[in-house]
């Protein structure tokens, strides 16, 4: 077993600083939404407070939806921080590099996405760097942009982002194969008819891109 502190002590993400800390003897993660100096201060404070609060709430709801995600130990929108369980594993983004046959992982990712959507949770940043493959199975991370919605559009947008992430890191046939696995998992959980509507909506979203063509 690798000691937690051998892995990292602090990472500056795009939105928050993630540090290793201790919570009553257990290794834990402290996620602090740092001030973005480029952003207007009023806007910055309201975005950080809102996202901290929503992230904690939705992390909690995600477990009720039946997926693995880090446990929350402490959350405070006033100081923009959340302390949560330290989980270990390989990011799907890295897994897809080494093990191209990671179809199971992608299927499970689709299944998890469907479970969230069934409970009206939209992840909002569903990329392969927010999915961890561990001994416990799949763990979804970073609910920092999540929100509650039952709209078809938002479900489709969630999967569209995952598709973009796959297309931007894999060659086209592989990306297609992985995304098909995601959809298969999604269908297994969600059923045929909704999956079909979501798929249609994804195509609509893709056509909204500038200069997109029908093919």
């Amino acid at each position: 077993m690798v000691e937690a502190n051998e892995i990292f002590t602090s990472v500056e993400g795009s939105e928050a600083r993630v540090e290793l800390c201790e919570w009553y003897g257990k290794p834990a993660i402290r996620k602090i939404r740092t001030r973005k100096k480029y952003r207007n201060e009023v806007l910055d404070r309201s975005l950080r407070a809102r996202r901290t609060k929503e992230e904690a709430e939705i992390l909690h709801l995600s477990k009720l939806a039946g997926i693995n995600s880090p446990e929350i130990y402490f959350a405070d929108p006033g100081s923009f921080e959340i302390i949560m369980e330290f989980v270990q594993g390989t990011l799907l983004k890295d897994l897809q590099k080494t093990n191209k046959g990671s179809q199971n992982a992608f299927e499970l990712a689709g299944k998890y996405a469907a479970r969230l959507h069934k409970k009206g949770i939209i992840h909002g940043d569903l990329t392969t760097k927010n999915m961890l493959w561990s001994t416990m199975g799949m763990i979804f991370l970073d609910f920092g942009l999540s929100f509650i919605s039952d709209r078809l559009e938002d479900k489709a947008e969630d999967l569209h982002l995952l598709k973009q992430a796959l297309k931007s890191t894999l060659d086209p046939p592989m990306a297609q194969k992985c995304f098909e696995a995601v959809l298969a998992g999604y269908r297994a959980e969600m059923g045929d008819s909704i999956t079909k509507s979501v798929r249609k909506q994804i195509t609509k979203i893709e056509l909204r891109g500038r200069y997109a063509t029908v093919d």
Binding site: E15, R39, V42, A165, R210, Y211
Partner: protein, 338 residues
């Protein structure tokens, strides 16, 4: 090697003679004439193409004279084949085809967006940047090597250039309104900002501006000053862009950021970008103002890349393509790029 680059995507008819020798790229001349829409209205494609027809021969001759060259000295002709407005693209394509046939020059149709990127890379000596391309026609975050571009995020509706332009037109300004909005935003003069009233719409790495535009128009109609609306819209629109860009930087681990396209000339945006890049230790390259908008030099810069990849078209195959995303440019499919 000497290239004559011809640009006619939208409001600008441009021509440039540029030279590439070993690794050194030099713009010998860069001339343009820009169609001006009447205040309060946008580009009328037919009127813009008429403008291009009337000005094209003067612009091309100025480019040659400016470079102190004759058309005989040119090795090949590159033209902007898309994406853009059909009637406008056609003028550039006709000029390029005519010159190529009469003077027996190779003809290279290039992608306009890659023109913005290639010119930026060459002028700022960037090797492998993440690209933020922001203009009236584009709002896209892309990365790739010269042959294979991938899009990490983009606008789902309006481009940031359209957002500023349409807001400006609502104020009764003439296009392009970006610089006028920027000036208004700088003179806040004690007006209160309305940032809290504007939606902040980011979906993953994609941004959406249509709600922002509607809310901004509503606020102006309800009595907010042009200064306070301009300031607030810029703050929100740019924060969205930079948040998406920062996320893409984190995702790709790129160490360089190239910002190009007409909106790259905005000083407030540059300040914000510099702040973000400094905090991540990323090298920021912003295209010089002179070359931020559409110009022949960008088409020449892309021309060298497309020429090197063998993307030479015969006159009858010299296409235009109104919809041509950078992730659809395929250097493996010669000449039949459409």
């Amino acid at each position: 090697m000497i290239c004559l680059g011809i640009e006619s995507t939208a409001h600008t008819f441009g021509a440039s003679v540029s030279e590439l020798n070993s690794a050194s790229f030099q713009i010998r001349s860069d001339c343009k004439d820009v169609y001006k829409a009447p205040p309060g209205s946008g580009i009328h494609p037919r009127e813009a193409s008429r403008h291009h027809e009337e000005t094209c021969s003067a612009v091309v001759s100025n480019a040659l004279t400016g470079a102190n060259m004759s058309i005989e000295d040119v090795d090949f002709i590159a033209y902007s084949a898309g994406p853009g407005l059909g009637p406008c693209l056609r003028v550039g394509a006709v000029v390029a085809r005519s010159l190529a046939t009469y003077f027996k020059k190779e003809l290279v149709p290039v992608n306009h967006a890659i023109g913005h990127i290639e010119l930026g890379k060459k002028l700022l000596s960037l090797n492998d940047p993440l690209v933020l391309l922001i203009s009236g026609g584009h709002t896209v975050i892309a990365a790739g090597n010269s042959a294979d571009w991938k899009i990490f995020g983009e606008t789902l509706d309006l481009t940031v250039g359209q957002l500023l332009d349409q807001l400006g037109r609502y104020f009764g300004m003439s296009s392009p309104a970006g610089p006028k909005i920027e000036a208004k935003a700088r003179d806040l003069n004690g007006y209160k900002d309305i940032i809290q009233q504007l939606p902040y719409a980011i979906k993953g790495n994609d941004v959406s501006y249509s709600g922002l535009l509607s809310s901004a128009k509503d606020a102006y109609s309800a009595g907010a000053s042009q200064e306070s609306v301009s300031f607030s819209v810029q703050e929100v629109a740019f924060a969205l862009l930079i948040e998406a860009t920062e996320r893409a930087l984190a995702f790709t681990d790129k160490r360089e950021l190239l910002v190009t396209g007409g909106v790259a000339a905005n000083q407030r945006l540059s300040e914000m970008l510099l702040e973000m890049c400094a905090s991540r230790g990323v090298k920021l390259g912003v295209i010089p103002r002179q070359y931020s908008g559409d110009c022949g030099a960008q088409i020449a810069a892309a021309g060298f890349l497309f020429h090197e990849k063998g993307m030479i078209a015969s006159v009858q195959d010299a296409f235009i393509r109104q919809s041509w995303r950078i992730d659809q440019v395929d250097f493996r499919r010669r000449s039949s790029a459409h």
